[in-house]
């Protein structure tokens, strides 16, 4: 696909553009890593985009009122985590279907960000350093967002594959009854994965505030679908039990490469949606077919 776009547009394969693509990937990628945990347990999280917004808004207000950067980051992270914990509680202990619980969270969080801002963006006028969180380049070349993505990805991968809790995430998704009968605290596992998802969304929200130097209440709309699509393209099965962090990253890369490439080809936003939708369907279809041939 990279080759295709390089041919189709003279602007694609230059350094700045590729950096842009990677930066885009970071935002969706971080969120997608979070939701990967949830999907592996057989659940779903629709609130991602809204949590991004509300975390960003609260962080934005904190910063705008003069608090130091670190406090802003902490507050945003905490809000994201809080939303995740709440969703997790509803699903794990309230036994609400994940779809409904996170749908509710999606609407309320979005509503909350609008309430807090009365619909107006929060500008970080006086703050000159916060946007470095996003715009600073390590060694003048590597953008910080990429570092964040890589570090988070490595940690997430390690947790899923090498720790007991990661194993139990897969077990819960593979056979929840067996997990329970094996003495796994399934409710705790679910609470944890939704908290992770919320946390990741919170982090992404902070990143976006840094990039735009403002907190937009309407931001993140549709991000949940992009993140879920990224995870699914990357091989995470919606029915649970299967998933890879590396796959999710690749999925996110594919999505942002596509969007970027289509932009450069001056394909209208609307057509982009259509094309992306088709690609997602094809990717999942191929994956399902591949899985069918593996089973005896």
């Amino acid at each position: 696909m990279i080759i295709l776009f390089s041919i189709l547009s003279p602007y694609f394969f230059n350094f700045d553009n590729l950096i842009t693509v990677i930066k885009q990937t970071a935002v969706i990628g971080i969120i997608a890593i979070g939701v990967t945990f949830v999907i592996i347990t057989g659940g779903i999280d629709l609130s991602l985009g809204s949590v991004v917004a509300v975390s960003g808004v609260v962080a934005g207000y904190t910063l705008a009122s003069g608090a130091p950067n670190i406090v802003g980051v902490l507050v945003g992270t905490l809000i994201g985590l809080l939303c995740g914990v709440l969703s997790g509680f509803l699903v794990a202990y309230g036994e609400l279907p994940a779809f409904i619980a996170t749908l509710g969270m999606m609407m309320s969080a979005r509503g909350m960000s609008l309430v807090l801002t009365q619909g107006r963006p929060v500008y970080l006028a006086g703050n000159k350093t916060f946007n470095l969180i996003h715009n600073y380049n390590l060694f003048k070349v590597i953008p910080l967002p990429v570092i964040y993505l890589v570090v988070i990805a490595i940690v997430a991968h390690y947790i899923l594959k090498r720790t007991a809790i990661g194993r139990y995430v897969f077990a819960t998704g593979s056979n929840e009854d067996a997990a329970r009968l094996s003495g796994i605290n399934v409710q705790m596992v679910k609470l944890v994965v939704y908290s992770v998802s919320g946390l990741m969304s919170g982090l992404s929200g902070i990143l976006l505030v840094a990039r735009l130097n403002s907190a937009q209440p309407a931001i993140g709309s549709g991000y949940e679908l992009d993140a879920i699509a990224a995870a699914v393209i990357g091989g995470t099965s919606l029915s649970g039990g299967e998933g890879q962090i590396i796959g999710t990253i690749i999925g996110a890369l594919i999505m942002s490469t596509m969007k970027n490439g289509l932009n450069l080809m001056h394909v209208s936003q609307f057509w982009q949606q259509v094309i992306i939708g088709i690609v997602v369907i094809m990717a999942v279809y191929i994956d399902i077919k591949r899985r069918k041939t593996q089973r005896p």
Binding site: R167, A178, G241
Partner: protein, 498 residues
């Protein structure tokens, strides 16, 4: 005197509306295989669920090696060395063999959160060799065969230092060779002084493996007897509380003219050149080892799978069957092997299931369903087939296996099918209900229906068929009359002898 390994005394358990266990006693000696039998609903699985901590008993005592114990959670049972291998395995399909074996007790390294995969794999190999299972620890469990999964469960139980292993219908999905392997393993367990509780409906099979047998009926303890010196007939009497007469009702239907002729039915790499004739009023038994292609033949005949060659003639005329709806239109019905998976719609109720295939007949133009007729016709079938259900609105998932099977049969009868393909008609059904199904089969053939009966239970084949078709590796190995057939002659052809 050394106390028994396990003594359960005076166990009571009630659920809303039903007393599941009423003063039940059960004991288990070390190194013994103790069979637990009873009709569906007799209380076997409830008793075992209490023993494994899934349920809590209302009253009674449990003693392990002479000491009273409390089992309130599944983890308690596990700590006490009680292990159970369910009929529907408790495995994680997406996880590997090694991960499954060590779930919740993974060897750790560094901190207590990080799993030591290398040690885990090593220990897995050791455990697998104990049960003579040659598997790659990194294989995902959903790539294993049913028998391998079961062996894995046993390996898991052994590794948990189980003192008591409970096996629930262990052989229902195994081939004969795999069953032999299982029995060998059970003998080894016995030598290690492990106590085994063996739940099964296959009474004849127990002869090879059981030392004592306990019978439950309607939640009550009927008796415990030594297997030596007890006949299957005695056991059945204890189970149903009455003489069952012969297992298989006499075949009195007269076999008439040819109804269905199958010529050269072929499906690439699966079945080859199958030909036979089915007559009115006949039961054609289809025997063969697992994997011989019997279900595949039925599915090709029924149009569920595409066939690559062959003709089907109905009353002398060639018919085209390209899909199940074609087959149904020609009056063929198929009762599948796994009724829960592809037979019933579990979420719907009795009358909905019965009328499922024939809904069009109850629908006026414009799509309006005649509820009154649906209820009336369903009621007729419930009475005719003696389907035990509290009401027509009862969801079928709550019915017992035998009654579920009858609902599916009612569905085909309601559609007016004349040719019925039964695939393992009495799997997972208790003795009393089995006989009811056999009686129904007799009645149907007496009325002119024709039945193709695929079965892995040779007594059933010999007891009910008029003629027997034996399959081997996708082809017909032979067709014989019941009069001249024996278990040996069938097995001979089924295993490839000529």
């Amino acid at each position: 005197m050394v106390p028994d390994l396990l003594v359960m005394k005076n166990i009571h358990k009630s659920f809303p509306g039903v007393k599941a266990l009423d003063a039940v006693d059960f004991s288990l000696k070390r190194g013994e295989v103790h069979a637990l039998i009873g009709e569906n609903g007799a209380g076997k699985s409830t008793l075992m669920k209490i023993l494994t901590g899934v349920y809590r008993m209302d009253a009674g005592t449990i003693q392990l090696e002479g000491e009273e114990v409390q089992i309130n959670k599944t983890i308690d049972a596990q700590h006490l060395g009680i292990s159970i291998i369910y009929q529907e395995f408790n495995l994680f399909p997406h996880l590997t063999v090694s991960e499954n074996l060590f779930i919740r007790r993974e060897p750790r390294k560094l901190t207590k959160w990080i799993i030591d995969d290398k040690t885990q794999r090593q220990m897995t190999r050791e455990m697998l060799s104990e049960v003579h299972l040659d598997l790659d620890p990194n294989r995902k469990v959903n790539t294993l065969s049913v028998a391998q999964q079961q062996m894995l469960e046993i390996a898991k139980a052994l590794s948990l230092k189980a003192k008591i292993v409970i096996m629930d219908e262990p052989t229902s999905a195994l081939t004969d060779a795999e069953i032999e392997n299982l029995f060998r393993l059970i003998h080894e367990l016995k030598q290690r002084q492990v106590g085994i509780i063996y739940i099964s409906h296959r009474l004849e099979e127990l002869r090879h493996i059981a030392d004592r047998v306990t019978v439950l009926r309607d939640g009550k303890f009927v008796g415990t007897v030594d297997y030596q010196g007890t006949t299957v007939r005695d056991l059945v009497k204890m189970m149903v509380g009455r003489e069952l007469g012969d297992f298989f009702p006499d075949r009195t239907a007269k076999v008439g003219e040819p109804l269905l002729e199958v010529q050269g039915l072929t499906r690439k790499r699966v079945i080859k050149d199958i030909s036979f004739t089915l007559h009115k009023g006949e039961i054609l038994g289809v025997a063969g080892l697992m994997g011989a292609g019997r279900t595949e033949m039925a599915r090709a005949l029924f149009g569920a799978d595409q066939k690559d060659g062959g003709e089907i003639l109905l009353e002398g005329e060639i018919i085209q069957i390209k899909s199940p709806s074609d087959a149904i239109r020609y009056g063929i019905g198929y009762l599948t092997e796994d009724r829960k998976r592809d037979g019933l719609t579990l979420g719907l109720n009795v009358k909905e299931n019965i009328t499922l295939a024939s809904i069009k007949d109850f629908t006026k133009r414009g799509g309006h369903m005649n509820d009154g007729r649906i209820a009336q016709v369903s009621r007729e079938y419930v009475n005719q087939l003696q389907i035990k259900t509290p009401s027509l609105e009862q969801l079928v998932k709550f019915l017992s296996g035998g009654n579920q099977q009858k609902v599916i049969l009612a569905r085909w009868l309601c559609k007016g099918t004349r040719i019925l393909i039964f695939d393992e008609p009495t799997r997972g059904i208790d003795v009393g209900a089995k006989r009811e199904i056999y009686t129904l089969m007799n009645r149907l053939t007496g009325e002119g229906h024709a039945i193709i009966m695929i079965s892995s239970e040779l007594p059933e084949i010999l007891g009910m068929s008029d003629r027997i078709l034996i399959m081997h590796e996708g082809a017909v190995a032979g067709i014989m009359d019941r009069a001249s057939a024996t278990e040996e002659s069938i097995m001979y052809l089924a295993t490839g002898g000529r």
